[in-house]
């Protein structure tokens, strides 16, 4: 190997510190080559190595009877019985989407889909969790419409329904939107494949798209803050080809069905470098690559560029030598190339050659497992005390509560997301039995009576105001949404979006949010099966709200028992399961009507939460309820409105609570509360079941008519249902209309 003289400029420009470089020299026992520095710089970047987050991630609960595969693989796996399992994972594509929203979001979808089918699973659903600035800003509208179109353009072409998710608007995301995509797949146990390079002497084959110069150092880019210069980094953004991905899905699943591959891994961040070193280190084997064999899209690419290219829609598969021809035949059928680019060795080294010349030779574990771990400093942010000091007594109740209600209902955070999800094909595969817009989507599993409930949740305003309670609440709310359909929550994936972890106040929010999440996951028996950390979500030094997005999977044994959110029958009773609540801190009402983000956000009592969810699951099994909808953003008032709009039925509700402010009753976002409806002859049954789980039941009113009538103490909100429906459904579309 030729060693060229390398000065500090080289590694610093690639994002390595001088200390990192010294460590590399020490670990290798020599100076690294230029190519090796490039390989280390991406593999030791925050994005690939999790160097700041690892110590905290290790504290999360990851085991449970239902877990087949926990963190560390391409995706997590949970058992759903009948020899079937669900494979799922969530990942961020924030920085690419800030620079080029359409392609950034599209390739985010492409990446997460590959993570799922690489495990042998058929992708059956997509979700996403999106955050933007406010829609009165033209640049935000450009980002929002571009991201939604990108997700649609890619996912729709693949024929994977995009069935659920969330969209949240707040100024903190103005320059740094969050685009978190989640993919869910279905697999039979025997078809599960891991991303491991097993079998010394086996061939390493590269399949799918040709390699170009796109996205070189994308992983490093993701590990920096955005600045005004970031737009000029555009070449870092890759372009997706969903048609190629669709062919790859079909070809890879056919390879697995034919039993001709022993391991499979997609090429994501850091391309060939990370996929090969991860595959090798998982099995304590080595991989010997000849990059001159890699099919190229551009001429004159150097070994360095080939190793770090992030060209999309490529997979690495491990194949026994006598089955190479079978692999090629299947790929040819799908019009794809398959090229042997290396072989599995027994020495644990990632060795990169260009024909006869070795350009890099590194023990794979140094790359995948030996990245420096940072014990980050943390400090309670100063803002917390001043924000939490706020009390409801400081607030004057608005004169016109009816207008306040309409304003909250029309706020883009509460309003219908139909403008978004009607651009996604959410029905393809004919399994979506609860469509977007409900608490959680439900996907039926054909050939069984089962269904899988899916949701993505996080109220970042709450996490901002109290990272621990907010983190706990994100998990609790996701589980509650799943339980509202009648499904039992199984497990979570997550996407942890935070600012620069080198800032102690940011790292405190990370640490605390994870502590909250971990407690909730343990209490609700929904272990973490994997996920992704995205740090450095800052624009010109200003961090986004701490945003730990939670992706939750639940299981319902019989889809006949499913519950949806909309009211069903005239004459049904409307019941509140849980308390009237009192916590107004961090509410949508405060933000929209009073332009205030303050107070202590609602706290979750995990015992109560668990009781409520068990009640919901049992009530569904016993077919007691005709609808159920979780009370969250916008409080009881908006929850009731959404139930009425979805069911196209009016309501007549009367709440008398002396000594309590009407705005608090209408808009507080206290947890562990659900509005349900049932036929009057079921009331006693519902009450006694709720009592078993320690849940109070309050009868609020009845279903029927064409008016939304909600009286609280001396305030009466009375709106024709058609108007209510229009306010809620058209709010976002109105913001997006070309002026």
């Amino acid at each position: 190997m030729k060693t060229i003289n390398i000065d500090s400029k080289v590694w610093r420009e690639m994002g390595l510190s001088d200390a990192d470089y010294q460590r590399i020299c020490q670990l290798l026992g020599r100076q690294p080559s230029y190519e090796e520095i490039g390989i280390f710089s991406v593999m030791w970047s925050e994005h690939c190595s999790y160097k700041h987050s690892k110590p905290e991630l290790r504290k999360l609960p990851t085991s449970g009877q239902q877990v087949i595969q926990g963190p560390g693989e391409n995706a997590g796996i949970v058992d759903i019985g009948d020899n079937q399992a669900i494979v799922f994972k969530m990942e961020s594509h924030n920085h690419p989407s800030a620079i080029e929203p359409y392609q950034g979001a599209a390739t985010g979808v492409g990446g997460i889909v590959r993570d799922v089918f690489t495990m042998g699973a058929r992708p059956i659903a997509l979700l996403n969790s999106l955050r933007f600035g406010q829609l009165d800003d033209a640049h935000v509208r450009y980002l929002f419409s571009g991201v939604v179109a990108g997700i649609a353009g890619y996912g729709n072409c693949l024929g994977i329904p995009t069935v659920a998710g969330e969209v949240f608007f707040d100024n903190s995301y103005r320059g740094n939107p969050l685009v978190n995509a989640m993919c869910v797949g279905l697999v039979n146990h025997q078809d599960i494949r891991l991303g491991a390079a097993s079998g010394v002497g086996n061939a390493v084959m590269l399949i799918g798209a040709k390699t170009g110069r796109d996205g070189i150092h994308g992983a490093t880019f993701a590990s920096e803050e955005l600045s005004d210069e970031s737009e000029s980094k555009r070449p870092s953004v890759q372009v997706g080809d969903p048609f190629m991905e669709k062919l790859l899905i079909e070809a890879c699943l056919e390879l697995i069905a034919a039993g001709v591959v022993v391991g499979m891994q997609d090429l994501g961040a850091a391309g060939l470098t990370s996929s090969s070193s991860e595959m090798a280190s998982r099995e304590n084997n080595g991989i010997d690559l000849d990059v001159s064999k890699v099919p190229l899209r551009e001429s004159g690419m150097t070994p360095y560029e080939i190793m770090l290219s992030e060209s999309q829609e490529r997979m690495l598969v491990i194949v026994e030598p006598d089955r190479i021809e079978e692999v090629k035949a299947i790929l040819t059928k799908w019009g794809l190339d398959a090229t042997v680019v290396g072989r599995v060795t027994d020495d644990g080294h990632l060795r990169v050659r260009y024909q006869d010349q070795v350009v890099a030779d590194i023990p794979a574990t140094l790359l995948a497992d030996e990245a420096p771990v940072v014990e980050a400093e943390f400090k309670r942010p100063a803002y917390l005390d001043s924000k939490q000091k706020w009390q409801v007594e400081d607030l004057a109740q608005p004169g016109d509560l009816v207008q306040a209600f309409i304003d909250v209902l029309k706020s883009p955070n509460v309003a219908s997301k139909e403008w978004v999800y009607r651009q996604y094909d959410h029905m393809v595969r004919t399994n979506t039995v609860v469509l977007p817009g409900s608490d959680a989507a439900v996907i039926r599993i054909k050939g069984t009576t089962k269904g899988v409930a899916l949701t993505a949740d996080c109220n970042p305003r709450h996490v901002y105001l109290d990272p621990y309670e907010g983190g706990k609440a994100a998990v609790a709310e996701a589980a509650r949404n799943v339980a509202c359909t009648g499904a039992s929550p199984l497990a979570i994936t997550n996407c942890l979006n935070f600012g620069n972890p080198e800032k102690p106040e940011i790292f405190y929010t990370f640490k605390e949010a994870l502590r909250g999440m971990g407690e909730a996951c343990s209490a609700l028996n929904t272990p973490v099966t994997g996920g992704n950390v995205s740090f450095y979500n800052e624009t010109n030094g200003q961090a986004v709200y701490p945003t730990p997005s939670i992706g939750m999977v639940g299981l319902i044994d019989n889809t006949d028992n499913m519950i949806t959110s909309g009211l069903k029958n005239t004459g049904d009773l409307i019941l509140l399961i849980g308390e009237y609540g009192h916590e107004l801190g961090g509410s949508e009402y405060l933000a929209t009507v009073h332009n205030l983000v303050a107070g202590r956000p609602p706290a979750v009592d995990l015992n109560t939460e668990k009781g409520l969810q068990q009640f919901l699951v049992t009530a569904a099994e016993q077919k007691m309820l005709n609808s159920a909808h979780d009370i969250s953003e916008g409080g009881l008032a908006c929850c009731l409105a959404e139930k009425a709009i979805a069911g196209k039925l009016g309501v007549d509700v009367n709440i008398k609570l002396s000594g309590k402010r009407s705005d608090v009753i209408l808009f507080n976002e206290s947890h562990s509360r659900v509005l349900v409806s049932c036929s009057p002859d079921r009331l006693e049954q519902v009450k006694s079941l709720a009592a078993q789980y320690g849940m109070p039941v309050y009868s609020l009113g009845t279903v029927g008519g064409d008016r939304f009538s909600l009286a609280v103490n001396d305030t009466t909100i009375e709106v024709p249902l058609v108007d209510l429906s229009r306010y809620w459904k058209e709010a976002i579309a109105c913001c997006m209309k070309p002026s």
Binding site: G159, P242, F243, L435
Partner: protein, 232 residues
């Protein structure tokens, strides 16, 4: 009843069509790979499913029409066999000149997936004969290029020969601009050829063939084919 479902690279409603033909209707159904030159056996119905054949690069359906199998499809149509193109299948059939007109980009430039109301305009065709004329059915759409276009002369012919099978209407059956989800001329959602045996429609009846999916109205299309075939 024997049905064949053509699979192109990029087809993605092929398994949905299979589910309805095989599980819901109980038909003897095969997939037919695009690269074949002929059908392995004789089919009563050839179904061209939705999706993004060849990525829909260039124009939706433009590349698929040159696939090997398409000459067999044309022969099947010429011989009077049923051909049903749904969504991308409709686009392919127009590109292949088996149906008149073309499908342009939606007028609002967005992909649109939602339930729509359709009015059965002609209940005599093999694809609608189980319905009543004027019947309203609720069936979802999911497309980017569903804006049906035909020149004046073609439209007059379609009208004269009763080739317009389905139009987009509101839930009361009125033909309004607001009920038109893509800008299609005269709210046209589905048509057939002059002989009546080749049909293309943008809405997805296979997505509305079971109550658990929110509507079973789309089943009437498949029941019509069965009924017509039985009477033949």
């Amino acid at each position: 009843m024997k049905a064949g479902i053509i699979v192109f690279p990029g087809s993605n409603c092929d398994s949905d069509a299979m589910h309805v033909c095989q599980q819901v209707m109980g038909w003897d159904t095969d997939y037919i790979w695009h690269a074949e030159n002929q059908f392995a056996r004789k089919y009563d119905l050839i179904l061209i499913p939705g999706g993004f054949s060849y990525g829909d690069y260039l124009r939706s359906g433009a590349i698929a029409r040159f696939a090997n199998i398409m000459s067999a499809v044309a022969d099947h149509a010429k011989g009077g066999g049923y051909v049903l193109g749904i969504c991308n299948g409709f686009q392919i059939l127009t590109e292949a000149n088996l149906l008149p007109g073309a499908l342009l980009r939606n007028n609002h430039l967005q992909f649109r997936c939602e339930q729509v109301w359709l009015k059965v305009e002609n209940a005599d065709s093999p694809f609608t004969c189980a319905a009543q004329e004027g019947q309203l059915i609720q069936v979802p759409i999911a497309h980017m290029d569903g804006n049906y276009f035909a020149d004046k002369e073609t439209l007059e012919q379609l009208q004269e020969n009763n080739q317009i099978l389905l139009r987009y209407v509101d839930e009361t059956g009125l033909l309004t601009a607001a009920a038109n989800p893509n800008g299609a001329i005269h709210n046209i959602a589905g048509i057939c050829n002059e002989a009546g045996n080749v049909c293309g429609m943008m809405p997805h009846p296979e997505r509305a063939a079971e109550h658990i999916l929110g509507s079973a109205d789309g089943r009437i299309i498949f029941e019509s084919i069965l009924q017509h075939w039985g009477e033949r």
